[in-house]
Structures are given as C-alpha cells and as structure tokens.
C-alpha cells in the first residue's frame, strides 16, 4: 500500500519544541503554585480577625496589621487620585493634541527613561524634595509625601498604557465623528475615552499593583509609624508604614516571631488579588454602560 501523501507526519523538531514549551509552562506554573502554597502554609494559620483588626503592641507583645492595611490602602487611594487625572490628561494631550516634533519625541523619550528608573531613586528624590525641601508632614515623612512619590513612579506607565489604549480605538470612529461636525473635545469625551476605558483600567490596575508592592521608596518618604490613625484627614500628613515597609522591617530587624512576615505576605497577596478583581468588575460594569460590543 502506498503511503498517503496527506497523512499526518510527526517531525522530531516539533516534538522537541512542544516539549520545551510545555516544560517551561509547567515550570512557571509550579513556581507560582509553590510560592502561594509556601506562604499559605507558613502564614495563613496565623491570620485571624484580631491580627487583621488591631495595631501591634510592643508592650503586650501582640502583632496586628490593621494600621498597615489602612496605610497601604490610603497610599493607593491618594496615588490614584493624583495620578489618574495627570496620567490620562497627559496621554490625551500627547495622542490627540500635540503635533509630532522634536519636543514631543524628547518628552516621550523622557517618559520611557522614567519608567525604567529603580524606585529607590524616586524614594531618594521624594525624601529630598517632598520630605526635606517642601517639608510635607513630619520630618520623617508622611503618607502624602509617599503618595506623591508613588505618583511619580506610576505616571510613566500610566501615560504609556493610556496612550496605547487611545491608539487602539478604531480610527474610523474618529473620522466619522469629525465628519459629523463634532469638536475634538466632544470626540474625546464621547468616543475615545469610553472605547479606551478597558486599556485605561489596565493602566490603573498596573499602578495599584506597583503602589501596593512598593517598599523602598515609601521607606524613605512615608515614615515607619505603626499606630492606629485617629483622624483620617490629618493622617495624610502623618507618617505611616504600609504592609510592605513593615514586612521589610519585621523580616530584617528581627524581634518578631517568625510567622509575622509570612502572615503579612499572605495578606498582601490576597489584597492584590482582591483589588485586581474589583477593578476588573468595575471596568466590566462601565463598559456595558457606555459601549456596545
């Protein structure tokens, strides 16, 4: 019997490539699973309501993380309030209003470089400018100084991602709206922003992740206080350590039982997960409301 010319052939090269792809995938997945399982085993048993809802006390030798959770969320909120209008505004300017030229490409280049600078450099700048020169809050830093520094850190990513999202909007919509005599501002408001929203939400999620995981810059600029805030408005100019900073201090300075950093890490992980999930949910709701797709 002659061999069918169209029969499936198994080539050794393909098998090798497939094996490689599968093994890499398995390696990555098991790495992630390993981290999660390790942290959960070491940390999860110690997480209880008392741990989540109280402040730590050296006197009673108890460990609670309520102030750190509050500080982290506080910093995230402040950073978003500062960075969303700035970031989206800059992206709209660059994408819709600026005329291509040397100045604009220099500006874009600068943003690119800023995105790659280690956060500790921003921390140093924040310490010198917001904490020492402007003297916002106490001499050891404040949540506002921390949030301002974080704003600088997330802005480049926010601008780039939003620009990308605006660029993805079908250009024929723009043309159609122009041909109907609509102004640029109206087109941005009714066509571009609603359609770019999913991309903008990605920018926001990335920024939240960056702020939650930030420790080096905040160590310099937001201080290390871990008492429970009494007045939430005044808290803006008070120092306060977030989860990551306190985690770093517990893990490096010792003095605390071994389980504390692990429990905190587990909380951090859950926090990031919850924030991402809710940001996606909010985006989904928005998308349904403003556009049909």
């Amino acid at each position: 019997m002659t061999k069918n010319r169209y029969e499936k052939q198994i080539r050794p090269g393909i098998i090798t490539v497939r094996a490689l792809i599968y093994s890499v995938t398995v390696a990555i997945i098991s790495l992630v699973v390993a981290i999660i399982v390790y942290l959960t085993i070491k940390g999860l048993p110690y997480i209880n309501w008392e741990f989540l809802s109280t402040a730590p006390s050296r006197l009673n030798d108890t460990y609670g993380i309520a102030p750190m959770i509050i500080n982290t969320l506080y910093t995230v909120m402040l950073t978003l309030i500062l960075s969303i209008p700035l970031g989206i505004g800059t992206a709209i300017y660059l994408q819709e209003y600026s005329r291509p030229g040397k100045i604009v490409s220099a500006f874009r280049g600068a943003i690119e470089i800023l995105a790659g600078i280690p956060s500790i450099v921003y921390g140093l700048f924040g310490l010198a400018f917001f904490v020492n020169a402007l003297n916002i809050g106490s001499g050891t830093g404040s949540l506002l100084s921390g949030a301002l520094t974080c704003t600088l850190i997330v802005l480049p990513t926010m601008i780039r991602t939003t620009e990308e999202a605006l660029l993805q909007v079908n250009p024929t919509y723009r043309e159609a709206a122009y041909s109907l005599g609509a102004s640029k501002l109206h087109i941005i408001r009714t066509i571009l922003l609603p359609n770019a929203l999913p991309g903008i939400v990605v920018a926001v999620i990335l920024s939240i992740g960056r702020v939650v995981s930030e420790s080096a810059a905040l160590l310099y600029t937001a201080g290390v206080d871990y008492t429970m805030p009494t007045n939430y408005v005044k808290h803006m100019v008070e120092p306060g350590a977030g989860l990551t900073v306190q985690l770093y201090l517990y893990a490096t300075e010792g003095g605390s039982p071994d389980w504390v950093p692990y429990a905190m890490a587990t909380v951090l992980m859950i926090l990031v997960f919850v924030i991402n999930l809710s940001a996606n949910l909010i985006a989904g709701l928005f998308k349904k409301k403003v556009s049909y797709r």
Binding site: N170, Y173, A176, L180, G181
Partner: protein, 249 residues
C-alpha cells in the same frame, strides 16, 4: 444652480501635488459622480469639499471653494460648522459602537437639539435612509449587529440627521454586495430631491446609472466634466474615452 464652486483648487502633500488647479461647479439637487482610476485624486478632491483633509498633517490647499457665498478655506471659517452643512459617508461603514438610536442622535445631540426632538429626528432620518422598517423594533440594539449594507444606510441616516445641504459619499458602496449597493443607489435617487449628492466611485456603471453629471479625474487633473450621458456616449477628451471604454484603469 450650482451649490458648490471650486476655483483653481490645488492640494499638496508635503511637496507632492495631488490636485492640480481644479475648477468645477456642483449643481444643487443633482447627483455628481467623480470617477477615475485609483490614485487619481477623486477621493482627495471630495474631502476638500468639507475640509476633511484638515485632519491630515502636511496637507496644504490653495484656491477657493465657494459654498453659500463664502470661501470654505477662509481663515475665519470654522470647519466644524462646514461639516454640519456638508456631511460625509465613508467607504467602509463606520457606525459608532453605540445603539442604533444613539448613532443617529450623536450629531443632533451635539449640535444642541432638545431631547424631545430627538425621537422625531431619529425616525425621520432612518425613514429617509430606507432603514426604518428594518430597525424600528430594535433601536436600542448595537449598531454593530446590523449587516454591512444596513450599517452603511445607518451611516447615511446619521449624516441625514445633521440636516445637511450636501452629502458626500466616498466609494460608499464598494464594500457592499450588489443587492445592498442597489438599495443605496435607489436611495440616492430619492435623496437628491432634498439634498445635493456627490459620489466618488470606481464603478463606472454605477456612475452611469445614477449620476446626473460625471467628472473624470486623472493624476490630479480634472480631465472632463459634463452630463453623464455626454461623458459615457460622446466624451470630448481621448483620455476619457480610453478610460470609459476600459483601455486602462
């Protein structure tokens, strides 16, 4: 009576000239067809008529386009107001990702029509575009759920909702099947009673079927402009004859 008159219009992309000294009168309540091979400048010329080339960088236009006794390229003119009077439909149907209703209402809403007037405008525009019967029960559905031909008629209705005087169509049927094309041609014949219609087409049969006047463009020059009958039966220029008899293009 002519509604738009161009006088010695030239258009340059950077240093390259794309339209050479074109002067023509476009008659009110007629269908004028612009024909010619690809790259001859017919679409570019169409976009000159409602200042859509403004959005393109490094594009320079000289000469005059007279509409309603004013020169559209006068520095004092607001192009937004021009586009309100001279609407445009594009080659590929481009409805917004909104409901059918909101697509039609987009321009009237922006131009300050009251909420209670909108229902009427939407209904009238869709009726004039011969789409009302097909969509009246699903006005709140996405415009993207319509077929290509319906989407294009929706875009025509969206332009009609502006209540323009002139409607420009840039190869508006070239992405559609023959039946949808026929429907739109039929529609244009009705629309010319109310509006002035200028179409760009690379389909010569289409021009001969529906246009009152036809202009033949070649390499940025207006070669010949006359009644459609004259262009297709007794062209004065040899280049026109060559093109309509299929020797090139």
């Amino acid at each position: 009576m002519s509604i738009i008159t161009t006088k010695n219009v030239n258009l340059y992309y950077r240093d390259k000239q794309a339209i050479n000294n074109v002067s023509m009168d476009i008659e009110k309540n007629e269908i004028t067809a612009l024909i010619g091979p690809s790259g001859c400048g017919k679409s570019t010329f169409l976009r000159i008529l409602n200042r859509m080339n403004d959005t393109i960088l490094n594009c320079k236009i000289t000469g005059e386009v007279i509409f309603d006794q004013i020169n559209l390229y006068d520095s004092k003119i607001d192009p937004m107001l021009i586009r309100k009077k001279i609407g445009m439909v594009f080659q590929k149907p481009n409805p917004f990702p909104l409901s059918i209703y909101d697509n039609i209402a987009y321009a009237p809403r922006y131009h300050g029509k009251k909420k209670r007037e909108l229902d009427e405008i939407v209904e009238n525009s869709l009726k004039q575009a011969a789409l009302w019967d097909e969509v009246k029960d699903r006005l709140k559905k996405s415009a993207l759920s319509l077929s290509g031909g319906q989407q294009q008629r929706l875009c025509i209705a969206r332009t009609i909702a502006l209540n323009p005087e002139v409607i420009l169509l840039d190869e508006a049927t070239s992405a559609l099947d023959p039946i949808s094309t026929f429907k739109i041609e039929d529609l244009l014949a009705t629309l010319k009673k109310t509006f002035t219609v200028v179409i760009v087409t690379h389909n010569m049969q289409q021009a001969s079927r529906i246009a009152d006047k036809t202009a033949f463009f070649l390499l940025g020059d207006l070669i010949e402009y006359d009644t459609t009958e004259k262009i297709f039966t007794d062209p004065q220029n040899k280049k026109t004859l060559d093109y309509i008899s299929g020797h090139f293009g």
